[in-house]
Amino acid sequence: MSVSSAGENVVGILRQERSGGALQDQVAQLFVESRQDVYRYLLTLGLHPPKAQEAVQEVFLRLYVTLKKGEKIENPRGWVFRVAHNYGLKVRARQASETPFDPALEACLVAPTGDPESGLLERERMSRFHRAVEGLSDQQKRCLFLRMEGLRYPEIGSALGISASAVGEFLRRAISRLRKVRSE
């Protein structure tokens, strides 16, 4: 082994020890578990699929860099959604002239399926539910979607820049409206 490569290896070994292969494994594991959820959340923010996918990768790399710096993150999944939210809004702002992505879920829900009998009632219910969700204010929707992803109120508040009690209020209103769908 040459001294040059020995030097490189030394730095490599030290670096590996410091950042920890375990850290890479942890971030990679979370990436596998959560990337679809984060991706879908970014679609609901109005990002087009290619941009949303790029953003997901960027967010997880930021997580890696942040953890590597030694910063402590209590709930990495919550952190990922918070950063994804802010990053997603920045991407949207940079493409202000572009129409936000519209997944046309309503059309999907009313489209006939191969098996019209099964789940027709549920599809109708979901269609109504979807219309109610669409009728929520932006903040209510954001709170609801982040809550669906398992974030706690302070984490949602942190992502949206509002207090936990404000999150509680937005969720209360959202749930109150969605309840009406059930009773219809």
């Binding site: 971030v27 991706y39 979901m126 669906m148 207090s163 936990a164 509680g168 969605l178 059930r182």
Partner: protein, 556 residues
């Protein structure tokens, strides 16, 4: 909910309960109530069913119909490697160069047999260098060295005014002036104290003095924090007269602006550079009776203007700085003036907001920023019980009428969301105005400048509130009139100052909020339906009248 558990939990509390977002105490109260109350247990079941609906919606709609990613997911490990290599690019280059030189040396047969030892030495050097290159101690040492060099490179100011505070004394020292010598007798104890800690009495607030003391301490621990405006170095010493010291360096020119020395006997000395506040642009001193420094246009200048124990003026500056970043709306940030300091704190503040406030105020002398842990924030503020006397009940038929007027349920939902958002923004301004008027119930005792700062904040809140009420009126008035509503105008009460007027404005805004909630079916009402459109139109008029009165008194 009452402590006796006899009343039903207020709106929203049950959702927080099932989400596990209540404090233990509150959670126990709700639990105990639920054991006794069938109605609330049923309510919980319905909430859970709606939550289950959300879960199904996520699974059956979002997960099913949202498009899949257009490309395969990348191998993240490759990206990790790229990040690692770019982060350590510099160290790689140096290591490569060192290694290359070593190879050249080792190429000579005479030293070849030492190769193994040399590699081992290289390993050690790399390890030590890698481990310690970025520690706070190194950062502190580098920062101090830069500050010393910056001070030496610049012409020393002809005159420097330092304010010195201890537990019992406060005085000003003018360095580089002979007049200062006369006052030295009373400062002898502090001088002696500093000298025991090996601080140069002739130049106490300087990077050089701090560096000299720090270098003399063998066992120490450093901490470096940076904000936009300044660096703060804090050194805790395990030995010697001084237990710890901190030095604040201005980012722009690394000039020391504040220093605090804490002795082992619990005594402390605080030094603040107030030259800028007492010197004209040409360097000449201002008159003895120095006016308080001009209020900073941007918060970062606070550090240079606050001196001595904090006063109402300082508190107003802090409030104004918080107002600039919108931290006085919705966030439960508390500002209190006590013991000569302005304490900024609160519970349930989002981490991002906390960071903003820390960045804004950490470097400001005599301001303490301390927030409670998020866990403590789980107990939400008790919402005020709605004062709905006179509010109309909104039975099913009533809401149906509103929906019909608006063109269907979907339209109603959108309309409702828009109005509720406006309502919330309106209330956040009303709360902010009320907080200001409660904290400063009269203008007496405030300097003209402080009065202006206070009024400026109040004017801005009032203007924003006017925008919200106008938007609500634009949206609601046609609907309410078409439903047979007519406004009964009630003039606002007459006041001689703006503070009591804001209290009236708050009550009017609150009444409007409740009536809007009743109209949209968010809050149950308790009296006649038919009056609701008229009541709402009158409430809007009342807010406008009170707002006009308030703005007039604010000199809008």
């Amino acid at each position: 909910m009452s402590s006796l558990g006899t009343q039903h939990p207020e709106d929203g509390l049950l959702l927080r309960y099932i989400d596990g977002e209540l404090s233990r105490r509150k959670g126990r109260q709700v639990e105990s109530h639920l054991k006794a109350c069938w109605q609330c247990r049923t309510e919980i079941e319905e909430l859970e069913e709606t939550v289950a609906g959300c879960v199904r919606y996520r699974r059956n709609v979002l997960q099913t119909y949202l498009p899949d990613p257009p490309n395969p997911w990348p191998d993240l490990y490759r990206e990790f490697a790229r990040i690692d290599s770019s982060a350590s690019g510099e160290s790689h280059m140096v290591a490569k160069q060192l290694a290359a030189r070593f190879v050249a040396l080792l190429g000579r047969a005479m030293v070849r047999r030492w190769a193994l030892g040399a590699v081992a030495a290289l390993v050690m050097v790399c390890a030590v260098w890698y481990q310690f290159r970025e520690t706070p101690s190194v950062q502190a040492a580098v920062l101090l060295k830069r500050a010393v060099l910056a001070a030496e490179a610049q012409a020393t100011p002809a005159r420097r005014v330092i304010q010195i505070r201890t537990k019992t004394q406060k005085f000003t020292r003018t360095l580089g002036s002979r007049r200062a010598v006369a006052a030295e007798a009373s400062t002898a104890p502090i001088q002696a104290k500093l000298q025991t800690a090996h601080f140069d009495w002739e130049d106490p607030l300087s990077a050089k003095s701090y560096q000299a003391w720090r270098n003399g301490v063998a066992a120490k621990q450093d901490e470096v924090t940076a904000t936009q405006a300044s660096y703060r170095i804090r050194t805790v010493a395990a030995e010697g007269e001084l237990a710890s010291a901190s030095l604040v360096l201005r980012t722009a020119d690394l000039r020391p602006v504040e220093e605090r020395l804490e002795f082992r006997d619990k005594e402390w000395v605080e030094l603040t550079d107030i030259t800028d506040a007492t010197t004209r642009d040409d360097g000449s001193p201002v008159a003895t009776n120095v006016e308080p420094p001009v209020r900073p246009a941007v918060p970062s200048r606070l550090a240079a203007t606050l001196s001595g124990p904090a006063s109402i003026s300082d508190e107003l500056q802090v409030l104004s700085a918080l107002h600039e970043i919108g931290a006085d709306l919705g966030d439960p940030v508390q500002v209190e003036l006590s013991g000569g300091r302005v304490a900024v704190g609160g519970v349930g503040i989002s981490p991002e907001r906390q960071r903003q406030i820390h960045d804004l105020l950490d470097a400001v002398p005599h301001v303490t920023v301390q927030f409670s842990e998020p866990a403590a924030a789980t107990a939400p503020a008790e919402p005020a019980s709605p004062d709905i006397a006179g509010a109309g009940v909104a039975p099913v038929g009533f809401q149906a009428r509103v929906e019909k007027q608006l063109g269907g349920h979907a339209e109603f939902e959108k309309f409702s969301a828009r109005i509720l958002d406006r309502n919330e923004a309106l209330m956040s301004r009303a709360y902010a105005l009320r907080r200001l008027s409660e904290r400063f119930p009269a203008d007496d005792g405030l300097t003209a400048r402080d009065r202006e700062v206070l009024r400026d904040m109040a004017r801005q809140h009032a203007a924003a509130l006017a925008g919200e009420v106008a938007a609500i009126e634009r949206a609601l008035a046609p609907l309410l009139v078409s439903m047979g509503g007519s406004a009964v105008s009630r003039p606002a009460a007459t006041h001689t100052s703006w503070q009591p007027a804001t209290a009236e404005l708050f009550h009017a805004s609150h009444r409007l909020e409740v009536l809007v909630s009743v109209l949209l079916g968010v809050t149950p009402g308790s009296s006649a339906t038919e009056r609701l459109p008229s009541d709402l139109l009158s409430a809007i008029g009342e807010v406008r009248a009170n707002l006009d009165s308030c703005q007039r008194l604010l000199g809008y």
